[in-house]
């Protein structure tokens, strides 16, 4: 920069461009537009069915204003008990299975072959949606909450074991070394150096997973794996919108309570 060639001080300012190349930017915009047109064109809208649906939408809305908790209470109660018990047992079982798998999937604790196996299990549990897993468990053990329990326990591994393993790998190696230097064995190292570091996180994640498991338990019933979802499915199949509204309000209420509770637990331990 030479002082002599100083240009006139710029009086206007332009936002720096997001894309480095103008051609790339317009190609992306054009591509997006073409996609949008094609996608919108392939959505078939059946207007006759839609106008018929308007009446149903109105009934659904009025159902929300006058939810009917009474006439199907027996079914609702059974679905709720199934969902809640399923949530508790599958969360506990999921944690019990996740902890050893997480220890095996932590690079700093496990030999390479165990690491591979455990990471494989985690990947398998994460790939498919709960609903698809539920279809298979229903086909294996029959209809009912037990299939839901298996599904949720399995998905809990994918979530909890992965996050916990990542957390163990990030644990402070100084503490591990200090405990090992006292002559501690493998179990003692895990107990005193690792567990004390990751415990708050494990509790927080478990509370969060409890919350998720309840949400999912409200859905797996649609494919026959027990819980409130089955009751909701039946109510909607019969067009009993007031009962369906009651079920939805209960689900929203419990989800909010779970979320608030798990938030409170996570705040207290952090």
């Amino acid at each position: 920069m030479s002082a002599a060639a100083t240009p006139a001080y710029p009086r206007t300012w332009k936002r720096p461009p997001f894309f480095a190349s103008r051609a790339l930017k317009w190609a992306l915009v054009a591509g997006a537009l073409v996609y949008l047109v094609l996608a919108l064109a392939s959505v078939e809208v059946n207007w006759a069915r839609l106008s018929e649906g308007a009446g149903r939408a109105a009934r659904l809305f009025s159902g929300f204003l006058t939810p009917d908790f009474v006439s199907r209470w027996g079914d609702i109660w059974q679905g709720l008990v199934e969902s809640l018990t399923m949530t508790v047992t599958s969360t506990v079982a999921g944690i019990l299975l996740s902890v050893p798998i997480a220890l095996g999937a932590a690079r700093n604790l496990a030999p390479w072959w165990l690491y591979g196996i455990c990471r494989g299990i985690i990947a398998l549990a994460r790939v498919f949606q709960e609903i698809i897993v539920a279809i298979f468990f229903v086909a294996m053990v029959g209809f009912g909450p037990f299939a839901g329990f298996l599904t949720l326990s399995f998905s809990t591994i994918g979530f909890l074991a992965k996050l916990l393993a990542d957390d163990i790998e990030e644990a402070d190696p100084g503490q591990v070394e200090a405990v090992r230097a006292t002559g501690a064995g493998w179990w003692q190292t895990v107990d005193y150096a690792i567990a004390s570091q990751v415990m708050p996180r494990l509790i927080g994640l478990s509370a969060y997973r409890f919350d998720i498991n309840f949400r999912e338990s409200a859905v797996v019933g649609i494919v026959g794996a027990g819980g409130i979802g089955a009751t909701l499915n039946t109510a909607l199949d019969r067009y009993e919108f007031d009962s369906a509204a009651a079920i939805l309000l209960i689900i929203i209420g419990i989800v909010m309570a779970c979320e608030y509770g798990s938030g409170l637990i996570r705040q207290r331990i952090q």
Partner: protein, 272 residues
């Protein structure tokens, strides 16, 4: 931390006082009791003969699933296109709806913390607490089966997610930049356009891509309740016990999910 003194006057260090240990012991007892109770209630109607039979059943199902019927894949291109459209269009509609909700919910941009903010927060919570499949069930009952119900289900479900993450991002913006723009004499709209929007745009883009990835996964199963896409083909194959077709569909879903994850990773790297 506590120091205990025993009968002979010796002192020893303990992690917790005896009172703390008692409380913890009771908490564990309560947890175990609750789990056992729930287990008994849940399995009351379980037929154990079916459960012990499960490994045989599993082997049978997987035996039927291989070899996959590869030529069936040619009939899946249209459902696949529908699935991608459900996820993409649903995410776009959700973005359009969630941005104003997020601005109304953020403490620093809402017009009224007493009246507007609680309403916006309620919309976010209600949308988040109902799974896309349940939205799908509702919308199929109202609109009839098809892609449209799927798109709206995904959109309604995503509002809460996008809204929540976005309003947290808005609340975390750097106020000094907003003040600097205001100090130049900018109007409310100009403060919005030059002070707030540029700060949250990267967050919005990452949230949108992240949600699109989730929506691809969710839209693959929406068809199970009649809302179009690959799930519809899955339902049809399951109902006719055509297991070789089921395995093709599952592989197709797997490929789609992996592809969406790859796209998401690419886009995120470009943004951050």
């Amino acid at each position: 931390m506590a120091v205990l003194t025993d009968a002979t006057g010796g002192r020893s260090w303990q992690l917790r006082t005896s009172r703390e240990r008692l409380v913890r012991w009771f908490a564990w007892l309560a947890l175990v009791a609750l789990t056992v109770f729930c287990w008994r209630v849940m399995t009351a109607g379980t037929i154990w003969a079916f459960v012990t039979d499960a490994p045989t059943q599993a082997a049978d199902i997987f035996g039927r699933m291989v070899p996959p019927r590869w030529d069936y894949a040619n009939r899946l291109w249209w459902p696949l296109w529908d699935t991608i459209n459900i996820a993409t269009l649903g995410t776009m509609i959700a973005l359009v709806l969630a941005v104003p909700v997020a601005f109304l919910a953020a403490r620093n941009t809402t017009p009224s913390t007493a009246f507007v903010r609680p309403v916006a927060l309620f919309i976010i919570v209600a949308s988040r607490s109902i799974n896309a499949l349940i939205w799908g069930l509702l919308l199929v009952a109202v609109l009839g089966p098809g892609v449209l119900a799927g798109i709206i289900a995904i959109a309604l479900r995503s509002i809460g997610f996008i809204g929540k993450l976005l309003y947290e991002a808005i609340e975390e913006i750097d106020q000094r930049q907003v003040e600097a723009i205001r100090a130049t004499g900018a109007s409310g709209a100009q403060v919005m356009a030059w002070g707030i929007v540029p700060q949250i745009l990267p967050a919005l883009a990452t949230i949108a891509v992240f949600r699109w990835d989730i929506n691809i996964r969710e839209s693959t199963v929406l068809g199970l309740v009649g809302a179009g896409g690959l799930g519809l083909a899955l339902e049809a194959s399951l109902n006719t016990l055509a297991w070789p077709q089921v395995s093709v569909i599952l592989l197709m879903i797997l490929a789609t999910v992996l592809l969406s994850e790859w796209v998401t990773a690419k886009v995120r790297r470009a943004i951050i």
